[in-house]
């Protein structure tokens, strides 16, 4: 089943075309890497998929809902986490989970159950009463991700989730992403670490508002005769 | 240094919001205070109940009506129905002459006039009553020398320098002061806080520029702009509001310049204690604007304040500058009458400059 379906998505700002006829789809339970240089139009497209911005034209369906008219339904079915958006530094871990669970309208018992479950999975159950600001960055990123999936969304959008994180935590983070995907939550992720692109089932590469490549990492490397995704990326960008 | 000042001008002229604040606000404020918010009353409807209708009451009535402050209402209520006309709101004041007015004046050397004003608008009522009493006093002095009229209203002392009771004269010095204070202090504090917020201060600090240079580079453009502002306000008050400049214009401008420098150094001081543009803005608004308006004698006379507030008002720079502006513009007094106030403002300027330079952080901690 397709969880995201985009056909001929166009987004213009005045005369500037940020997204130029994007067409792609994301399968349910897939880890989808959304790559591209700065200014290629990734953020614009991601905002549209999250229901924060309306396309100029084209068909965009997320979790079965239409981004033109059903953004409220979309927002209930998605989770979002970015490097810039993080949790409240002056609340405890537990309080953060309670707050964000409440935002999605989960009943109190359900929030408690999910919080215990998610913290247990991170091995941070013993830290639930610590103030978030006192925790290491890597932990905060993992907690932010857990909060993004507290309401069991159909799809979670991750905008550069591992920027600046140490190499071990970065890998642990991806293991959590894998677990999440195995439970059927679709993961839509952007990153500047090209090795992370290899962890995705499929990746698309954007340049100048267009999707210029979309395939599995293995097929892309074969097609561009490259040893890794970084080489693919450079070959595309330098054209 | 020169480059710094040029850069500062770019910031100001490229930001439409700050341009509006800098030049739009003064014009709007002056005109607002000058016209719309003026407490001056024109053509207030007045009802007159004349129980004697003799030559004296007719003379007083025509003097009242020709003053321009009052027009005669066609409502003439009966004695017991005064409240009713007020309730309809068509009459602002009722004047009642007692019967046999001229005769009593002649015989008993006193006669009674009752003045009843609609005090649901206390400011207007106050003004109308004082206008009325002033006009009656006037009449008394002209025609009835040596006689005393038992009028139960007091004349106000401010009228001495403002015989026409023009409220513009009261407000313009206050408006000039508040605008110069707010604009200069707020704009400088925000512009320094912006450098902190944008991270550009980090680069400025890691350059050979000394704190005094950074501060001077920030201040000089605003001195120029604020001075231009002062000129605009003065021109508007002179030509549009008919405000006189009885004293020396050069002295007025020099005093304004001094006050601007003081306000700027206060702005810099505010920015050294606030980290964000928002905090600088809040501090300027609440720490400067409210006390400036409330405690400077601009709206509420200082003599009427409780003693602690009177003492506190001494540290409000605008309090002194308002005195200076009034003295020069309205009273036409010379420097020897305002040297004390000038000295106080100069002292405050030095105080804030020294404090700012000492508080200016040469590092990020």
């Amino acid at each position: 089943m397709k969880i995201i379906e985009v056909e001929n998505l166009v987004k213009k700002f005045g005369s500037f075309v940020a997204n130029d006829h994007l067409t792609f789809s994301v399968d349910e339970g897939e880890i989808y890497g959304f790559l591209g240089a700065n200014g290629a139009g990734k953020t614009t497209a991601m905002k549209i998929l999250c229901g924060l911005s309306s396309p100029t034209s084209g068909k965009v369906m997320v979790a079965g809902y239409d981004v033109y008219h059903q953004t409220e339904m979309i927002k209930k079915r998605i989770g979002y986490m970015s490097q810039r958006f993080s949790l409240f530094e002056d609340l405890t871990v537990w309080e953060n989970f309670q707050f964000f669970g409440g935002i999605y309208g989960l009943p109190a018992a359900k929030i408690r159950e999910r919080t215990t479950e998610l913290l247990g999975r991170l091995g941070l159950g013993g830290e639930k009463n610590r103030i978030l600001g006192s925790l290491p960055l890597g932990w905060k990123q993992k907690l932010a991700f857990s909060v993004a999936i507290i309401h069991n969304p159909s799809i979670v959008f991750l905008d550069e989730p591992t920027g600046g994180v140490d190499p071990i935590t970065r890998r642990q983070f991806w293991e959590i992403i894998y677990e999440t995907a195995n439970q059927g939550i679709t993961v839509f992720v952007t990153t500047h670490y090209m090795d992370e692109a290899e962890y995705c089932r499929r990746v698309s590469i954007m340049a100048d508002g267009k999707i210029v490549a979309l395939d599995t990492p293995a097929n892309l490397k074969a097609k561009y005769n490259a040893a890794n995704i970084e080489e693919v990326f450079l070959k595309i960008a330098r054209n | 240094m020169k480059g710094f000042i040029i850069k500062e001008f770019y910031h100001i002229f490229r930001d439409i919001r700050s341009m509006v604040v800098l030049f739009g606000m003064p014009v709007i404020q002056v005109l607002l205070f000058g016209f719309a918010l003026s407490t001056e009353v024109k053509n207030a409807p007045v009802a007159i109940i004349d129980h004697s209708n003799d030559q004296v009451t007719r003379a007083i009535t025509s003097k009242l009506l020709s003053s321009g402050f009052f027009i005669l209402s066609d409502q003439v209520p009966g004695e017991g129905h005064i409240e009713e006309v007020f309730r309809h709101g068509k009459v602002k004041e009722v004047i009642v002459f007692e019967s046999d007015f001229a005769a009593k004046l002649e015989k008993d050397r006193q006669a009674g006039i009752q003045v009843i004003a609609d005090a649901s608008d206390p400011n207007t009522a106050n003004l109308l009553v004082s206008y009325t009493s002033a006009i009656i006093n006037d009449y008394q002095q002209e025609y009835l020398k040596g006689m005393s009229l038992p009028v139960t209203v007091n004349t106000q002392s401010q009228m001495m320098y403002n015989p026409a009771l023009k409220s513009v004269f009261m407000f313009v010095p206050g408006v000039i002061t508040i605008l110069l204070m707010l604009i200069t202090a707020m704009m400088t504090s925000i512009s320094i806080a912006r450098e902190n917020e944008m991270g550009t201060m980090e680069i400025l600090l890691v350059s050979p520029m000394r704190p005094i240079q950074i501060i001077a580079g920030k201040v000089l453009p605003y001195v120029l702009l604020a001075f231009t502002n002062a000129l605009i306000i003065l021109l508007l008050s002179y030509f549009v509001l008919g405000m006189p400049v009885k004293g020396s214009l050069i002295m007025l401008l020099a005093e304004s310049l001094l006050f601007i420098v003081m306000a700027l150094s206060l702005g810099i001081f505010i920015s050294t204690v606030s980290n964000s543009q928002q905090m600088a803005m809040m501090l300027s608004m609440f720490a400067l604007m409210l006390p400036t308006i409330l405690l400077s004698g601009f709206i509420f006379p200082i003599e009427n304040m409780p003693l602690p507030l009177q003492i506190f008002s001494n540290i409000m720079p605008p309090r002194w500058f308002i005195v200076i502006v009034k003295s020069i513009m309205i009273k036409g007094l010379g420097f020897r009458y305002i040297w004390k106030e000038t000295l106080i403002i100069a002292g405050m300027a030095v105080f804030f400059i020294v404090l700012s330079i000492r508080k200016f952080k040469i590092r990020l901690e």
Binding site: G36, A37, N38, R171 | G3, Y10, I203, L204, R363
Partner: protein
């Protein structure tokens, strides 16, 4: 390394409240060196760079840059320093050219006087010199910021995470510019969270949790890894990672793109044994090759040993 010292740090410690940002950090950077501080966010890189640039005082310890004490001689030091802070710190409402002129001006020079030093970089953005800095793309902002930091011909150039948040192409271009700049003899100190950028530096310091774990040339750091390292690939990377973690000879197993990098508890284990284990676990298309460790492998190795020694 016999050349003269440019930056000398002795036992620098810096605390914020009860948090230790830098813990007894010492190093020497030679004149003309391209030196990298490599480590994740929160490792203490920005604090260290602010101490180098005299923006912060060290809590204890001493630092000199070109012989100037960063606390006492900060006025002289600031004349010879070029600094590019972590986030984009130019005037967004000024044009490209106005920014350059302004930053030249505060060092009492002009863009024309030192044009030769920035020509290589600035010429790339010169066609946009009348554009507001806020309207430039990420890579162009970076080039402008570097031009502004260089315009007064500093002796020491300090760049705090210049490539963070920049796409892969712009990152490579940026390092190419630094390599060319290095030829002019200027001392360049860079920090980055991207481990793969270490190979661009003459020497690097690996920094984590306020401590320098290692200082050396990238080659020497890789040579000191001390373990045999295997890159393993099968058709199911995710399951492969789990299975390798269960393997009785496994010391560490970390994913690297489509491969798993595996180090073993004993050097006597043969690749055939790994292969046999994976076949038994049902993996197909098994590729096993011995590889040279990358800086990232070394970093993770040091992180693990650091944290295990700390626990003891």
């Amino acid at each position: 390394m016999s050349s003269a010292i440019s930056i000398h740090a002795a036992n620098i410690t810096k605390r914020y409240g009860d948090k230790t940002a830098l813990d007894d950090v010492s190093f020497d950077i030679s004149k003309g060196e391209l030196f990298g501080f490599i480590g994740p966010d929160g490792a203490g890189k920005t604090t260290l760079f602010r101490i180098i640039t005299s923006l912060l005082k060290p809590g204890s310890g001493a630092m000199t840059v070109e012989g100037f004490d960063t606390v006492k001689d900060y006025i002289k030091l600031r004349k010879i320093l070029g600094y590019m802070p972590g986030r984009f710190s130019l005037y967004q409402d000024l044009t490209v050219e106005e920014n350059l002129r302004f930053f030249a001006g505060i060092f009492k020079t002009t863009p024309e006087a030192n044009y030769d030093l920035v020509k290589d970089i600035y010429s790339q953005i010169e066609p946009f010199k009348d554009r507001k800095a806020g309207k430039l793309s990420g890579g162009m902002k970076q080039k402008l910021a570097l031009s502004c930091a260089l315009i007064h011909k500093p002796e020491v150039l300090v760049l705090d995470e210049p490539t963070t948040g920049v796409d892969a192409v712009s990152r490579i271009e940026f390092w190419e510019m630094l390599s060319r700049l290095r030829l002019s003899g200027i001392t360049i100190v860079v920090s980055t969270p991207y481990m793969d950028e270490a190979s661009r530096c003459d020497r690097v310091a690996l920094i984590q949790s306020g401590k320098i774990m290692s200082i050396d040339t990238p080659e020497a750091i890789r040579n000191n890894y001390g373990q045999d390292l295997w890159a393993i690939k099968t058709d199911d990377t995710y399951r492969l990672l789990g299975d390798l973690r269960q393997f009785k000879y496994t010391r560490t197993a970390f994913p690297f793109g489509e491969h798993i990098h595996l180090s073993l508890i004993s050097k006597s284990v043969k690749p055939a044994e790994i292969s046999a284990y994976l076949e038994a676990a049902g993996h197909i298309n098994i590729h096993i090759s011995k590889i040279e460790p990358s800086i990232e492998d070394c970093f993770m190795e040091m992180m693990s040993t650091e944290s295990s020694t700390r626990e003891k």
